[in-house]
């Protein structure tokens, strides 16, 4: 009996070890597909903390700036979106939401209403579904999303993810690394690309309606029923996009009537572009997506619409919703970093640096710096006459206070460990001064001055610039 128990215990332990190893492996290899990031971020939310959840394709995660919703209205929103998320995937995401959250409003983007195939994009399904926790809901999601012969592969997801061992990065092992806001990620992925268009797309209201494919109709009905059962307000929306055509508009007109008949709110963003102040030369990333500028305009309009039609609480100032404030701060910091990185005038650049907070700034002055007349401009930043700093020097500033100044010695070392980076200033005997971030040297000793700006909130390098005697910023 003792021998049998031993053997049985061995087998059981072996099975458990195997399952644990594969669960961990699968999680690591799932990589950083946007659908997975969205799902992972959702599971990190505090229970019953979200007010509005937005579902849909990349139109949603590029077009609905939940950080702006928070800043302007104190609305706790979440973009539960993924590339080519179909209406049926949206429905199952809604089911998943209701296991952990009690939103006041669920908003579904209708871009997927144009899909006519029974199954659409197996690869995207896996990317959007693999992070969903294993449950009956996930099984139903996959069963209805892929041809049945691919069901097992997609449910287990390893047939797609296993090959990603060639592309493993830090984000595969540490959650939140690859998304703005890290642990506070709320689903918004801004695009900063700009495609210029001459005019805004024309939206016609005189078109005939087009009835969507049966599968889409079935799932819209399921959504309506789900919302009714849980007494949650449902809304359909269309995030604006430049490439909208007449067929799309015909489908949206059908959807609008359907929404009216079923007590569902409806917002077609494409019908209010002028009201939003859209500029076709500036606000589109490309034909399918808004960029950050367009997203902010749409979100401003959306926020106003939400507060008009729904009773949503302003949570600003409430510590329980602290993660939304942090996420908003991260988005703001990212935007500021972008503006800094686009600045090409030295004086303006230094001016911006002096206005920023949460930075670690390292100013590195090479041997020839004293001949550079523009070095004088650094005085406001470093708080002292830079020409008195020795033959070559580095200054580390934190919140505009000097943290460290390199001594006039052949060897020195200063370093700081953050959660994601190792930052160091060093010089070894006979060697050159080096500024390093995670093994990468950021100064090249060919330029008189190097400025490294490290954003402590985002825990990443915001910008690295150099300038010489001509005062031109070099990146």
């Amino acid at each position: 009996m003792g021998y049998k128990v031993d053997r049985g215990a061995n087998v059981l332990v072996s099975i458990v070890i195997t399952l644990l190893v594969f669960m961990r492996l699968g999680h690591v290899l799932e990589a950083n597909y946007d659908g997975n990031q969205s799902m992972d971020g959702f599971y990190r939310l505090d229970r019953d903390s979200v007010d509005v959840v937005f579902y849909g394709s990349s139109h949603v995660y590029a077009g609905v700036n939940v950080a702006a919703l928070w800043d302007d209205y104190g609305i706790a929103g979440y973009d539960m979106a993924g590339t080519m998320q179909t209406l049926w995937n949206s429905y199952y995401n809604m089911e998943e939401t209701l296991k952990y959250q009690s939103p006041r409003l669920m908003v579904v983007d209708l871009y997927g209403i144009g899909i006519e195939e029974e199954y659409y994009g197996t690869t995207n399904v896996i990317k959007n579904v693999s992070s969903m926790r294993f449950s009956l809901n996930k099984i139903k999601n996959v069963w209805n999303s892929v041809p049945h012969e691919e069901f097992l592969s997609c449910l287990l997801s390893y047939p797609l993810t296993h090959d990603s061992y060639k592309e493993l990065g830090r984000g595969n092992f540490e959650e939140g690394v690859n998304s703005v806001g890290g642990d506070w990620y709320k689903g918004y992925k801004p695009s900063y690309a700009v495609t210029r268009y001459d005019t805004l797309p024309q939206v016609r209201t005189d078109l005939e309606q087009k009835i969507p494919a049966q599968k889409n109709r079935i799932y819209l009905e399921k959504m309506a029923r789900l919302a009714r059962e849980h007494q949650i307000q449902l809304a359909f929306m269309v995030v604006p996009y430049e490439g909208i055509d007449e067929e799309d508009q015909m489908l949206y007109q059908w959807a609008e009537e359907y929404a009216q008949e079923n007590g569902i709110l409806f917002l077609d963003g494409n019908a209010s572009l002028e009201e939003m102040g859209f500029d076709p030369a500036v606000d589109y990333a490309e034909a399918s997506h808004l960029n950050h500028s367009g997203a902010c305009k749409f979100t401003a309009y959306l926020g106003e619409w939400l507060t008009e039609h729904c009773d949503l609480t302003d949570h600003r100032g409430d510590d329980r919703w602290d993660s939304w404030q942090k996420y908003s701060d991260c988005q703001t910091a990212r935007q500021q970093d972008r503006e800094l990185a686009q600045c090409t005038d030295l004086a303006a650049y230094l001016g911006k640096l002096q206005e920023r907070e949460d930075d670690l700034v390292i100013v590195s002055l090479d041997d020839n710096y004293k001949k550079n007349p523009y070095v004088q401009l650094l005085e406001g930043l470093v708080g002292t006459d830079p020409y008195t700093l020795g033959s070559s020097a580095s200054i580390v500033l934190e919140d505009r206070t000097i943290l460290y100044r390199t001594p006039d010695e052949p060897e020195y070392l200063w370093y700081r460990e953050t959660e994601l980076s190792d930052i160091g200033v060093s010089r070894s005997y006979g060697g050159a001064m080096q500024i390093q971030v995670n093994n990468t040297v950021k100064n090249d000793n060919y330029n008189d001055v190097t400025i490294l700006v490290y954003n402590r909130l985002l825990d990443e390098v915001a910008d690295v610039v150099c300038f010489n005697s001509d005062g031109v910023l070099i990146r």
Partner: protein
Amino acid sequence: MTYTSYAFLIFTVITTGIYYTVHKKRQWMVLLLSSIIFYICSGPVFLIWLLSFTFFTWYGAGKMEKSKAGRKAVLAVLIFMNIGVLFLLKWSGMELAFINRVFGTGLGWRVVLPMGMSFFTFQNVSYSVDVYRGKIPAERNFWHYLLYASYFPYIVSGPVNRYEKMGAQFCAGHSFDRDAFYHGMLRILWGYMKKMVIADRAAIFVDEVFGHYYMYRGIFIVIAVLLFSLQLYMDFSGCMDIVLGVSKLFGIEMAENFRAPYGAVTVADFWRRWHMSLTSWFRDYLYIPLGGNRKGAARKYLNIMLVFLFCGMWHGAGITFLIWGFLNGAYQVAGSMTVRLRERLCQAAGLDGHSHGAMLRKKLTTAVLIESTWLFFRADGFKEAFVMLRRMFTGWNPWILSDGTLYQAGLDQWDFLILLVGALCVGRVSRMADDKDLYRIFCSQSWLCQIMVILGALVVWYLFGIYGPGFNPVEFLYFNF
């Protein structure tokens, strides 16, 4: 239903479960029913072929045993029926092309060979001949014989088994043997590793270069041929591991089909290590009946050539397969003709023919000769094969090994590293298996050590296996024969 599909795994699990649930006397029925279902999955209409060939062979063998008169004629009919129809169907494309050319007709039909026909016909022939020779008694029960012909683990790609080895095993009841079960599972896992991690990975490069031969020269072609030899061995031996492993689950033992073939010192030695069930079939049912080596050297050489030409024809309908068979035969004949001359040369030069250096030289030479035949075996046609052969030598390009061009044919550095490490591991294990009972050695380790090894293998398969969206599952190569 390929061996690497979920369907096959589920099918095997269910069959095994039922097998050990029924009474031992009924276990053969479970295998027979499963084999029929497996065969039907390939196409219900093909079942008629299997049943017909099997019935006539069984009936004919029974007749031969009962009556001395006309036994030779019956045997001839059975052989002609099995082999003749096989080659008629296999070479139908070429036959049709010949008819159209000669008679100016425009006939065109596509013949799909019933699954496993190459293997069950050979098994039918071996059974018929063995009964004729009195080596084995004829099987009285048609259903027992049908199981031998249709047994699902081996019907698709062999090995070619003899009735005397299999018949009794099918009918004997088998109690659940945990040890054999565990051994079978390990064997199946090993087969999946070889197939999905190594063979299917090598296939990416091979298919690219052979499929676009006009774009590749020199070392590309050399590497493609080398990888094809690796692919073929891993694919086929991996398949055999799965077949033998699945059989072990049922308590049924089959002979090994490979014995470290790339460690052979001559081409003849290679063929004593590669696809041993097929080569022994050719030896017993073709080479020896033709006279073997008992009728003088000239006849022996002729017999070798005939056997290998036949072998080439069995593998495929195309001139390249004939060339492949011809080359294998010619190398053996040349080797046999010059063996004394080479020994005298070594003696004269004071070289020890059995030293490590000599053995290494022989193995490398054999490998080069065998590789040269694989080019013809794999090429899509006669013209393609010769173009590739020419381009191999006229476009020498060693720089592709360092400037990154090598990685533009479907495999990157990771893939080549995995292939190299995989091939070395498999090679090492194969050599060890030659003279050691690896299973016993493995089982003698602690359970923790065993689970770590198994877990490691599963992780390797999970991470590096070729499967999933974007990959077409590469059929086992010997399915095609």
